[in-house]
Symmetry: C3
Subunit: 267 residues, 3 copies
């Protein structure tokens, strides 16, 4: 083994085509994984390989309600040991508000060991007061607050002006980052059209209205979306709803070690 | 660890938006996984996490012919230890009939330790007599019989009236459940159109013709299909050809802890 | 366990519908996996189950630059212990040429323990001289050379006549096999149209121009592509960019133990 380069050093020969990728802990260039039910072994394997490239793990939807025995707690501890934030899907919060259990919900999130929480209203209508209360309450309890803007159902699209107002407001009340809804599919939701293409005019309007684009995390499950956002904002754009099996492929895309972004430096 | 809630109890705070989900062992609300070649480690990891939410594992197509060494036998034992039924893909039965090896095939299924068998004619034309003989022979040998209706190739669609006759007949001869063909893709097959949307008139006609909808297992690999079937039949509809990595996501969908079914209780 | 058949022997009852599948080590009937970042555990699990059906593993794109610690070296050793060739994605070579580091790159590939290398120009324009030099240099260093033809971007399609010339040339300079570009998606690239359907006239023209079709490896990530190629060239066509979780499903497809190829022997 001693005569070999190490995997990290062999790239010292080559320069990454797109440079200045941030390292952990970082405030920009974040990657958020959507986990739809990885077992403990699979999680360990993933973190071992690629923990350096993961900043947040979301246990998607209500999946964390179904973990057998102590597996949820073990998984939370494991993820935290890699300095990765972990939180349950936003659906829970919406159900909690619907059932008037907001504070109990936040306490449980905290007790279970989650480090962050998502405050969203993608499905359940939540009035502005409750939203602000949820954000500030979660922040006070020491949770890293990620709020989310955008509706999941294309029939109820939030007007852009209102969405912008919500972003500003959320940050004021204590959100660390604001997630732009993209769902698991990335199609016909938020700022994506029915083909999954980003609606550029709306994206630019949103970006120009916020203090700093790095406060946004773009849910971008499709490779084309990731590519477009990297080409627009650079290797250190914050991306979410990344498939667990795509972490290294995304990293390659970020730094230009994949055709779709490499070509941008060749033309 | 002692100060924490357990993953199961923390949801005691919240009520599942869609209630009355059945628990194992159950006769309705079944989830059947299509396994395209999970290794032993991956299988163990999955069962550990989500064994409570899996009722059947199908080793898809002819994949079980290619397991190295003793892995097939070990996997069968492992799956059975979680009280989950396991069976080889229906293609084998069709090949066996084609090669006039029906009984030898069923004996081998039994000897290998499989607990169930699929009797289908999705690809090979099997006359009604042979089908009945296969079902009753398998049942007599102590195998849990799942028969399947519907052709895999859209060029040879079974007329609905004949399909209904087949369901009734299969049950008479010993089928425990009848699977409605959806393939791995869910597109342009059985009761799904070329977009994967369920053809509702045909579905309703089929359902009204059978003694009890719970004798049907719907192959529904796409989330939209699962959602439509849950919204139509409730959380305890029998669903099949579920991707192994989607078990907990499906469970969330069943009980309303995912946007697509949660919204049904919000409107 | 002693009273049971083994998984290999139980199929002795049945004949594979499509016969004469080659066994390892083989020169035709090759399966090349695209690995987008499997952890060590997952890799071990896969090889344990299906190592007999894998001939090449490509660590896709630049993913191998991001393996933590010694994991890359451990994985290379593991893969080699199953008599499987392993190589980094072609993007690296293109970046190396762009940065005038060709020989250093090839040396590093060799030192890290990779057994093969891909010489491609899917993204970066590489003149014919440099391409020949890269192929012969890699071959001299004892690497198994896979060259690739076809552009990744549909805007820059290589004319078929030039592509044919390249194949002939590559073989002369030392390529073992020539890969026909299909990307990870299989859509609107190389010989695939915007639906992912193979353009048959072009395929036939290419095949008729090469000394032996078995020198080609077809990147065919979609099942329909695999099926069409198996139906055209038989079970032992060389296929690439196969998803790691589809190895056994592909094997079933090759031998007619899956509906899509089984039906060819039924009609």
């Amino acid at each position: 083994m001693s005569s070999r380069y190490t995997s990290n050093s062999w790239l010292n020969i080559l320069k990454f085509p797109l440079g200045n990728r941030t390292a952990k802990p970082r405030n920009t260039g974040l990657t958020m994984i959507i986990d739809k039910g990885l077992g403990l072994g699979e999680t360990r394997d993933l973190l071992n390989l690629a923990g350096e490239y993961i900043d947040y793990i979301k246990l998607g939807f209500g999946t964390s309600a179904f973990y057998a025995g102590e597996i949820l707690e073990e998984k939370i501890d494991l993820v935290r040991s890699y300095n990765i934030e972990i939180y349950p899907g936003g659906t829970f919060l919406e159900v909690a508000v619907l059932q008037d259990k907001l504070e109990k919900y936040l306490d449980t999130v905290k007790i279970l060991g989650f480090t962050a929480v998502e405050i969203s209203d993608g499905t359940v209508a939540i009035d502005s007061n409750t939203r602000c209360r949820a954000i500030s309450m979660a922040a006070e309890k020491g949770l890293n607050v990620l709020s989310e803007v955008g509706k999941k159902d294309p029939k109820y699209r939030t007007p852009l002006s209102e969405l912008i107002k919500q972003v500003i407001n959320d940050l004021e009340y204590g959100s660390q980052k604001v997630i732009v809804e993209g769902r698991e599919s990335g199609v016909a939701v938020g700022l994506y059209d029915s083909q999954g293409k980003i609606i550029k005019t709306e994206m630019e309007e949103l970006v120009s209205a916020v203090p700093d684009p790095s406060i946004l995390i773009w849910e971008a499950p499709m490779k084309e979306q990731q590519q477009d956002l990297i080409l627009r904002f650079g290797p250190n754009v914050n991306l979410g709803n990344i498939n667990a099996h795509e972490v290294l492929a995304l990293e390659a895309l970020r730094v230009g070690l994949r055709a779709d972004t490499l070509k941008s430096v060749c033309d």
